[in-house]
């Protein structure tokens, strides 16, 4: 396998592994949890370093993972008090733990190269050069195996507890009534998030972890309301983002993880604009259709109201109408044209008259709107 192929493979595995717990983060409005963890683990690294005095000790990674859990636990506990919202809980815990780490470094380890990069690789471009060798055989990049393990654990958890996760996410009250603890499922899920973040950080770096965890689920959320579809769709979007991002990086010869994150953003914006039901274009279209619809009805009601009265010529004159409704000339003409085409009105000596069909329509619409 060439390094280029392995990079894409790792990116796809990480993207899928991240998007699964990411879906629940997005649905629970805790998107920034992953960002929080990628920063707070620095504290774990610093503390473990003070204990071991060794920059290459595996305890530093363990420390990172433990602080990841602590971050999750603190945030979740604050959140469960209901005294502050999810995002506020993250906003408190993340800077708190991260700043402790910065202060400790400045105060006690000013002359050591102590940062997250010295413990976690966090550079996708070099992941293929970190080989897994078993009994003297090179069986591929280490990151392929570590991220595959993450993916399997995430999949197993979500498949096993799918029903519970669904209820807990959308209706925690019901979950409690049904007799299983929403807290337990939350903590389980958040442990998954913490583990995935630290594990994926090692393989692809902090920015990409956040991008992969949040980007694809948010994009998928614009396309579907079905939880199962959302999970599948975000996994696929994540994988495609990773591969497209890789080719973007090759094309411009720039940072690989940076390009993948950019691609995640681009794909989101494309979907945001063009999504069939929730996209910007379709909601603009819907809005303008509603405006036309409303205006046509207004005109029909107006005509019906003044039909046969003395001031009909005044109220329903083609030229006086625009002024009357405070519509501009072009818009008025458009409404009249549309109604003429639908044969709801006719023009008689510059006065608009309802046809029989128009009268029936306006009566039935009126009833539909204002009865009961």
């Amino acid at each position: 396998m060439s390094p280029q192929f392995e990079i894409q493979l790792i990116a796809v595995i990480v993207a899928v592994a991240c998007s699964l717990p990411g879906v629940f983060l997005v649905l629970r409005k805790m998107s920034m949890m992953s960002d929080s963890i990628t920063h707070t683990i620095l504290l774990g690294i610093v503390l473990a370093f003070f204990l071991t005095h060794d920059l290459s000790s595996p305890f530093l990674i363990l420390g990172a993972a433990l602080i990841g859990l602590a971050t999750v636990w603190l945030t979740e506990t604050l959140n469960r008090t209901k005294l502050l919202s999810e995002d506020a809980a993250i906003g408190i815990v993340f800077p708190f733990l991260f700043s402790i780490a910065i202060i400790l470094i400045t105060r006690y380890a000013g002359s050591v190269h102590l940062d997250t990069d010295s413990v976690l690789l966090g550079e996708l471009a070099f992941a293929p050069f970190n080989r897994m060798v078993v009994f003297g055989y090179d069986i591929g990049a280490k990151a392929i195996y570590s991220t595959l393990a993450l993916l399997i654990i995430n999949l197993a958890f979500i498949i096993t507890f799918f029903k519970e996760l669904k209820v807990v996410t959308f209706d925690p009250m019901l979950a409690a009534v049904l007799g299983f603890s929403p807290a337990l499922i939350h903590y389980g899920l958040m442990m998954l998030v913490s583990m995935t973040t630290v594990g994926a950080f090692e393989a692809v770096g902090s920015v990409l972890v956040v991008a992969f965890m949040i980007g694809p689920p948010v994009t998928a959320y614009l396309l579907t309301d079905n939880l199962k579809h959302m999970l599948i769709l975000s996994a696929m979007i994540g994988a495609v983002n990773g591969i497209l991002g890789f080719y973007l990086a090759v094309f411009f010869d720039v940072s690989i993880s940076g390009s993948m994150a950019v691609m995640t953003g681009l794909v989101f914006f494309i979907v945001f604009i063009t999504a069939p039901r929730r996209g910007l274009v379709s909601s603009l279209k819907r809005r303008s259709r509603q405006k036309l619809d409303f205006s046509k009805k207004t005109l029909l009601f107006h005509l019906y109201n003044h039909e046969g009265s003395d001031e009909e010529a005044q109220e329903a004159g083609v030229h006086t109408l625009a002024n009357h409704f405070h519509w501009d000339k072009a818009f008025t003409d458009k409404i009249i044209r549309l109604l003429l085409k639908e044969e709801n009105i006719v023009l008689e000596a510059e006065v608009i008259k309802l046809t029989d069909k128009g009268r029936t329509v306006s009566i039935s619409e009126y009833k539909a709107l204002f009865s009961d």
Partner: protein
């Protein structure tokens, strides 16, 4: 809906297959020369000088890049893939990347780690802990001579037919480095003894200070991740005022903000310290900067320092 999914799914599978199949795999062999990949600009320069015509050198980190903020590009992957020799600094300068380079030996590559050729007693360590060292070894010319020897030895071992050329290149370069050393010492003598204080943004000049008799003060720690504390700024400003230090220095790979803040703090204490200019710290100068090589960079630095502190 389900049908749409199926279509989308198969489309993405096709896209994946298509995209993964059209990657380029041809290894770029430059005729008979060793492909060397070096991490920093200093090491790229050194490898090129020792290797001469027998090597093609590519550097990973460009000029002006803080090694902590280095991001590998897609092209760097190809470089690494085709490298016969990898040269890196070690002493945790490259962070976790260093460990990966180390493991490349198992894959039939020559890996040159400058750290291996240095004597441990020559290294500055972190407080009382002797196992953790300051990695910024390059501004002490005597240590850089050790680095040159390491590169020459390992290159000869990797490519014995040209061993003699490497040894000759080393001989010539060591003479140039000795000249550089003399040049620096002569220049330093132009500064009054009590003015030999070098104040910069981060601790990249400790070896330089030790070798040429400068007191070195950095605002931030060694890792550029750490930030300067307010007490650090204030006590350093006090120090500058008391000793009447003429100038402080900006570094090419660290934003000048903190140093400007320090200047303002000194001003508040009623003393005027000038910014003596920009020093190259973690990388050599870029193209056309007049400091493209190690020797030119060190000369540029010492000229800047002497001009400002004289």
């Amino acid at each position: 809906m389900i049908r749409n999914f199926k279509i989308l799914f198969s489309l993405s599978i096709i896209a994946v297959l298509f995209l993964t199949s059209c990657q380029k795999t041809e290894p770029k062999e430059t005729a008979d020369t060793l492909n060397i990949v070096a991490t920093t600009t200093m090491l790229a320069d050194l490898s090129g000088i020792i290797g001469g015509e027998h090597v093609t050198v590519n550097g990973l980190m460009g000029p002006g890049i803080d090694p902590h903020l280095y991001q590998a590009s897609a092209g760097d992957v190809t470089l690494m893939q085709n490298a016969d020799v990898v040269v890196y600094n070690g002493l945790h300068l490259e962070g976790k990347m260093g460990e990966i380079f180390e493991s490349l030996t198992d894959r039939g590559r020559t890996v040159i780690c400058i750290e291996d050729g240095l004597n441990e007693e020559d290294l500055l360590s972190w407080e009382n802990d002797t196992s953790i060292h300051d990695p910024h070894i390059w501004f002490d010319v005597s240590l850089w001579k050790d680095a040159a020897k390491t590169v020459a030895d390992k290159l000869s071992a990797a490519d014995p037919p040209h061993g003699e050329d490497y040894a000759n290149n080393l001989e010539e370069y060591l003479v140039e480095l000795d000249d550089l050393d003399t040049y620096i010492k002569d220049k330093v003598n132009e500064i009054p003894k009590e003015q030999r204080v070098l104040i910069t943004a981060h601790d990249a000049f400790n070896y330089f200070g030790r070798a040429y008799g400068f007191e070195v003060k950095g605002l931030q720690g060694i890792s550029t991740d750490a930030e300067a504390g307010t007490a650090d700024v204030s006590s350093l400003a006090g120090f500058i005022t008391e000793r009447k230090i003429k100038a402080i220095f900006v570094e090419s790979s660290v934003p000048p903000k903190t140093i400007e803040a320090l200047q303002a703090a000194v001003k508040a204490k009623g003393f005027d310290v000038s910014i003596g200019g920009e020093l190259y710290s973690d990388s050599l100068g870029g193209k056309d900067s007049g400091a493209e090589t190690y020797i030119l960079t060190v000369r540029a630095n010492i000229d800047t320092i002497v001009k400002a502190l004289k």
